[in-house]
């Protein structure tokens, strides 16, 4: 089957790298070459295509070994620059998680920043406490460390390099702060993440060349793929990587802490995979373009696992700065840096060109059949629809007297004001009515509030309850997308069910 002119091996490519005559193109250059000269020529001429991405990768972290103190301590709790780090091992091994936040500057400084500072050679304060044992008597510790003082300092990222990611929008009336950044109300902006056609996995979607042992560009140094990442979901083009690399040799340019207002901290990771062009198929696959990579437009204002979607867009549209959502033009911008992604692929190319980076064949390829399952939940949580009941309503032309009567006969505290088609206009409370009667007001318009805080039927009850507390109110009309009133949920309903 193997026709010598139709394939090449990683060993052959490494020979060429050693001799200095391997042909290396960045993914960007490869696409141009295939477009102008075709797959056959591209396969003949190109040995390696370098890819790259630089984005916030929350499931990242670093494992460090501190060496033993005297007297020794078996660390139970530890903090680095006031960021709690975890102690998964015996005595002095710590894992710095990128999303753990500083106790003094939450949302601004976190584990990702600690890793960046260590990589940059900065001093980091370490505090630790313990319960003390016969062999590890010490119960408290405070010291200053740099990366030079650590025995091991390895980046160990259990989910990196998402093949592609959602485009996020917000249909609600309020600005929301998410891991997809700040989303302005009523679709006033959209965000996306990922490098599209430069993404490593997108350029080898069948994972022919990638798996355990593939040497990669990681954080400005060399690292390895050690397997599929968590939540790897290859069948719907949402593959991920688990990676490892010596952080002492990395650079703070390609590993940077990130701060997301209202969400928390993360770490931006620069990651690039060299793809050996072993056959024509790989030449064709690495020619993939942004226009061929589609992703969903997802409404992040709905706090559910399955959020509503508004169709698909290509990375070409996303990178153009504007997309169309529901027939409306929405400006869109990226969270991950295209500039840095390019720099990753160019740096990797230059390493191979100068013979300081050699390719490896994976000892086991990434799986192509993994399925990402949702959580098994043994307890159901209540949603707004589970407790909402029929709202007592009135229209704007009714007399206050009549409404007062309805409040008494129906024994409710809130009357929802609707128009003839049942759409929400406002709300009046029994207190509004009492005051209006005392002040001799007759018209509903004088007392009705139009600024109504509402709930959606499929929201978790907990969130609706929080909203009531936030606005210091005791009921929320439940409405659908067209503002039609479906019912009402009150704080009594909530306390009955949630017991608060």
């Amino acid at each position: 089957m193997s026709n010598p002119s139709k394939t090449r091996t990683v060993e052959e490519i490494n020979q060429k790298i050693r001799k200095g005559d391997a042909q290396v193109l960045t993914a960007e250059e490869m696409k141009k070459l295939v477009e102008s000269s075709g797959v056959e020529v591209a396969f003949k001429e190109v040995d390696v295509v370098t890819t790259g991405t630089f984005g916030a990768m929350c499931s990242s972290g670093a494992i460090v070994n501190l060496g033993h103190s005297d007297p020794p301590i078996k660390i139970e709790h530890a903090w680095m620059n006031d960021v709690e780090v975890c102690h998964p091992g015996a005595a002095v091994d710590l894992f710095i998680g990128a999303t753990n936040m500083s106790e003094k500057q939450p949302y601004e400084y976190g584990g990702g920043h600690v890793i960046q500072d260590l990589v940059a050679g900065k001093e980091v304060e370490l505090r630790a406490t313990s319960y003390g044992t016969d062999c590890y008597p010490r119960t408290a510790l405070k010291t200053i460390i740099t990366k030079e003082d650590l025995n091991q300092f390895y980046l160990l990222n259990f989910r990196n390099c998402y093949q592609r990611y959602n485009c996020a929008v917000n249909s609600s009336d309020e600005t929301i702060y998410t891991y997809m950044s700040k989303l302005l109300p009523r679709f006033r902006n959209a965000t996306f993440s990922g490098a599209g056609e430069l993404n490593p996995l997108m350029n080898d979607p069948d994972y022919e060349t990638m798996g355990m042992g593939t040497r990669i560009f990681l954080g400005g140094g060399q690292g390895y793929i050690i397997g599929e990442g968590t939540q790897h979901s290859p069948k719907n083009l949402n593959g991920t990587l688990m990676v490892k690399g010596d952080a002492k040799k990395m650079s703070p340019e390609f590993l940077q802490g990130g701060a997301f207002t209202g969400y928390g901290t993360s770490m931006y990771v620069g990651l690039g995979v060299p793809i050996p062009i072993l056959n024509e198929g790989l030449a064709r696959k690495t020619a993939i373009q942004d226009k061929d990579i589609l992703t969903d437009i997802v409404d992040y204002s709905v706090p559910r696992r399955d959020r509503p979607k508004f169709g698909q867009v290509s990375y070409k549209e996303l990178k153009s700065g504007a997309i169309t959502v529901n027939g409306k033009k929405v400006r869109v911008s990226s969270l991950s840096s295209l500039k840095m992604a390019k720099k990753v692929s160019q740096t990797l190319k230059s390493w191979i060109d100068e013979g300081s980076f050699f390719l490896t064949s994976p000892v086991e390829r990434l799986p192509t059949t993994t399925v990402f399952k949702p959580m098994r939940q043994t307890e159901e949580i209540p949603f707004v629809y589970s407790v909402m009941h029929k709202a007592v309503t009135c229209t704007e032309d009714e007399e206050i007297q009549a409404i007062a009567k309805r409040i008494v006969t129906k024994s409710v505290n809130h009357i929802v004001v609707v128009d003839e088609t049942g759409r929400l206009k406002g709300i009046v409370t029994s207190w509004d009515i009492t005051r209006a009667m005392a002040e001799g007001k007759k018209a509903l318009a004088d007392i009705e509030s139009h600024n109504v805080v509402t709930a959606k039927p499929d929201e978790p009850l907990e969130i609706a309850s929080k909203r009531m507390a936030q606005h210091n109110i005791s009921a929320l009309p439940v409405i659908d997308i067209e503002k039609k009133v479906l019912g009402i949920v009150t704080s009594e309903d909530v306390s009955e069910l949630l017991g608060r």
């Binding site: 700065g321 869109v332 911008s333 295209l338």
Partner: protein
């Protein structure tokens, strides 16, 4: 062009101070936004850099408060050109250059009065600096 925020109190609103200054100094002042009623008000205006100081002082001599809302400051060492800020900007002052660097157009930016992009920057590279009334015009000139 520099942006200034002019604040009138209740008495000053009744007088045609702004028109007087515009005529006296022949300032081509572009009004960007104005919120004025009988109780006082605010005007956000643009004046040419070379007469900025004169205009600011003229208003202040008449007892009107003027702030030069400083343009936000972007730390180019910290910015890694992610682009998160771009689509948030209401006046399209932020854009992607050819090499995918993110660039701020200081001419277009509304400055610290806007600040929409500030808390969205994951690198915390954008700062909005509110200046006090007294010496902002001078400091602006020195830069």
């Amino acid at each position: 062009m520099a942006r200034i925020l002019i604040r009138f109190n209740e008495e000053q609103v009744a007088e045609p101070i702004a028109s007087q200054i515009i005529i006296e100094y022949k300032v081509p002042m572009a009004i960007l936004s104005a919120h004025i009623n009988s109780k006082g008000g605010e005007i956000l205006a643009e004046v040419p850099d070379d007469i900025l100081e004169k205009v600011v002082n003229a208003f202040r001599q008449r007892g009107v408060s003027v702030t030069v809302p400083k343009l936000i400051e972007v730390d180019s060492d910290k910015c890694f050109s992610c682009g998160s800020c771009i689509a948030l900007c209401p006046v399209e002052a932020i854009s992607l250059a050819k090499d995918c660097s993110v660039e701020f157009d200081k001419e277009k930016c509304l400055g610290s009065t806007c600040s929409v992009c500030v808390d969205a920057c994951p690198a915390r590279a954008i700062k909005s600096i509110k200046q006090n009334n007294s010496d902002s015009a001078n400091r602006e000139k020195k830069r």
